[in-house]
């Protein structure tokens, strides 16, 4: 089966301390589709509860359905209500294309690497 149309979804979560700020990081591998969207939602929710700032690494996600996009937008709103944010790391070319075509490119922020996404936390330690 071609990797880009695979239907599994694996995630890895960790907590990172950056200049006094706790940042929850979750990395996904696979495809976010109807079959895997519940798992995607649960892992985002679980990771988002750990810290107000949430980094979502999509570099190994080859497909994102529009429900998955909606889940990301919902989770971003949750993080903002906690005084934090949700930022994407390195979405694949296909995923960034889907984000753009869906009109979500202006509603979600993404960075090429994790450290760049955390740049503005420097000097803001509580």
């Amino acid at each position: 089966m071609p990797r880009d149309l695979d239907s599994h979804l694996i995630s890895m979560c960790r907590l990172r301390l950056h200049h006094g700020h706790e940042v929850s990081c979750v990395r996904f591998r696979g495809s976010v589709r109807k079959l895997t969207e519940d798992s995607f939602r649960e892992r985002l929710d679980e990771s988002g509860r750990r810290a107000p700032h949430l980094l979502v690494d999509l570099s190994e996600v080859e497909y994102l359905c529009s429900s998955g996009l909606g889940i990301l937008l919902e989770q971003a709103a949750v993080q903002e209500r906690q005084g934090g944010w949700l930022r994407l790391i390195s979405p694949s070319r296909t995923v960034s294309m889907i984000l753009g075509l869906s009109g979500a490119a202006g509603s979600l922020t993404w960075f090429p690497a994790e450290d760049e996404a955390l740049d503005d936390l420097r000097g803001q330690a509580a």
Binding site: K34, G70, L101, S102
Partner: protein
């Protein structure tokens, strides 16, 4: 479905967009047509046409609903509101060259999505040009 798509469209990015449109159509049927009731029939058929074009036909036994007559949500407006849902039909329209609905004998719907790889290539090219 995934394997069959590989036989009619070679480029992974174009294939992902076709999958996006077809999955949106299928999810509409499951969520709105069948109200998420399990075990209801949904068949998806892919048929190659001339000039690299192909059509995907979805058949269900849900109550009659012609999605081609529904005005799709505005993607820009949905983005402005950061709406989490409502993009499916707009994406289907963006990615297909035509959508045809027919009632099925005995009840249900037939939805035919026509795809043209040249159109998909233009959508992709335009997206990356605007994003640059």
């Amino acid at each position: 479905m995934r394997d069959a798509l590989t036989s009619v469209i070679r480029k992974p990015e174009e294939r992902a967009l076709v999958l996006l449109a077809v999955e949106e159509a299928a999810v509409n049927i499951l969520e709105h047509g069948y109200q998420n009731e399990e075990g209801r029939p949904l068949t998806i058929r892919i048929c190659a046409l001339e000039d690299d074009r192909f059509e995907v036909t979805l058949r269900d036994r849900a109550p009659l609903a012609d999605v081609t007559r529904i005005v799709p949500g505005d993607l820009k407006e949905l983005a402005r509101r950061r709406a989490s849902r409502g993009r499916g039909l707009a994406l289907m329209r963006l990615l297909t060259t035509s959508m045809v609905h027919r009632p099925r004998p005995g009840g249900g719907n037939e939805l035919i999505l026509l795809f043209d790889p040249h159109h998909l290539a233009r959508v992709i090219e335009e997206h990356f040009r605007n994003a640059a």
